[in-house]
Symmetry: C2
Subunit: 244 residues, 2 copies
DNA sequence: CGCTAGCTTGATCTCACTCAATAGCAGTGG
DNA sequence: CCACTGCTATTGAGTGAGATCAAGCTAGCG
């Protein structure tokens, strides 16, 4: 099922009817290979994509050629649903790994919007969830140091992957280089490396060859001052991803 | 008119009918005094507020007691419209100055959502505009230095105030202390002071006693690498707020 | 086997923070 | 009218987290 992970384990899950209506709005699926830019900043868009498999990023290009991530997307995320109302984007959308996406023409979304206020509110909710994550990323950059930022990012990703069954709550696959993590946390690859060593030596977690293993979730959460409430997960899930 | 500045000079302005429908959804207006916290993080909310007069902030509290702004709101902003779909917020909402707001019970918004898909899409758009600003704030923290951050914030605020007629494109009133600016740009008040001196000595702009005067808009925009496209203003307005 | 991308470590530098002191200014009360 | 209080702005000196620069190292792959 294409929309399997959509809203999964959030405050409100989708009903079967809603799921069916949504799936009928999909025109086709598509694949992109790693590194490919899917939507370029400023280009008019008439479709939105739901990520089915792989990881995608949204990033802003700095004039000096560096990129800065503003969002990371996991399977089940409606990556650029906001394009439905914005019509052109203020950032790029790219594939981090090889990915598969489901394509929703905006005309289909318009039909949903005219026929199902409840489902529309849930789609709206999804775009607000992204905004909530943006806010936490601002907070992360503004008030955490390098170690805490990386720890916070790992906690967040663990919680999100756990919600879709892609983490067992402790270990998960994360196909990102240290430089990629740097683009999330606004650190150089060199410093990410030092931070990861520090986390490893503190027996909090190990990140090696695209594999994250959290050794002490409670300790990592404390270090990062991570509180998953902004992810709007259901209570039991939130508790387990912050070891409460 | 309460909704006078709503969507003003954005890609799509509101029609008279839409405006009337919206105004009918207002239950009452309310005032708050400076510093007052209007919505506390995590509290269930059943209303959303539109800012009519004054400035409001949305901020995240750090455990050490510091606050970090994630949004600044000017008159005409639908400050916590996102509460309509989120139901509880992941941050605080506060009054920066004495403010007047219009209150929209979520029940009224629900009626709009069931009766007017077009207006609903415009409201949705407004919440996405906030998200676009969040993204730019991430970018600002991630890739600009202290001077550029402050310059960028001043350019952004000038453009937003210009859109609602509260800036003449060069000068405007900004009732914020240097410490407040620090909470936006993630800098200490001491460093904000040095940065403002630098901008003044470079003849780019002067910030004194709540009054901002941009002396060289083109230069300030260049220093900040400010590009207003993320504000989704209409083209002529965007051009004038970046001196193109 | 050599190449390249990613990881690792060391040495040095710098931007913004911290700490500390002073000045200006509005409001308040004697 | 002036002393007192408290908030905001200003400036100086010293410090430190993370960047930069520079080298190796490792492993997968053609």
């Amino acid at each position: 099922m294409l929309t399997e992970n959509l809203l999964r384990n959030r405050t409100a899950d989708l009903s079967e009817a809603e799921r069916a209506l949504l799936e009928s709005a999909v025109s086709h699926t598509q694949t992109y290979s790693a590194e490919q830019v899917v939507v370029r900043q400023g280009t008019p868009v008439e479709i939105s994509t739901l990520l089915i498999k792989g990881l995608m990023t949204r990033h802003v290009d700095a004039p000096d050629g560096r990129r800065h991530l503003v969002a990371l997307h996991v399977p089940g995320d409606f990556v650029d649903l906001h394009a439905y109302a914005l019509k052109r984007l203020d950032h790029d959308v790219a594939a981090l790994t090889d990915v598969t996406v489901a394509v929703f023409p905006h005309a289909s979304l318009e039909k949903i919007q005219e026929s199902d206020a409840r489902l529309t509110r849930r789609l709206w909710f999804l775009t607000l969830l992204d905004a909530a994550m943006h806010r936490q990323w601002i907070y992360r950059l503004a008030s955490l140091n390098a170690t805490q930022r990386v720890a916070h990012f790992l906690c967040e990703t663990n919680a999100r992957l756990f919600a879709i069954g892609a983490s067992d709550g402790r270990t998960f696959s994360l196909p990102m280089t240290q430089a990629d993590i740097g683009e999330v946390c606004s650190l150089t690859n060199v410093h990410v490396n030092r931070v990861l060593r520090e986390l490893r030596e503190a027996q909090l977690c190990s990140v090696r060859a695209s594999r994250v293993e959290i050794l002490d979730l409670r300790g990592l959460v404390a270090k990062a001052m991570f509180d998953p409430q902004y992810l709007y997960l259901n209570p039991s899930l939130a508790a387990r991803s912050s070891a409460q």
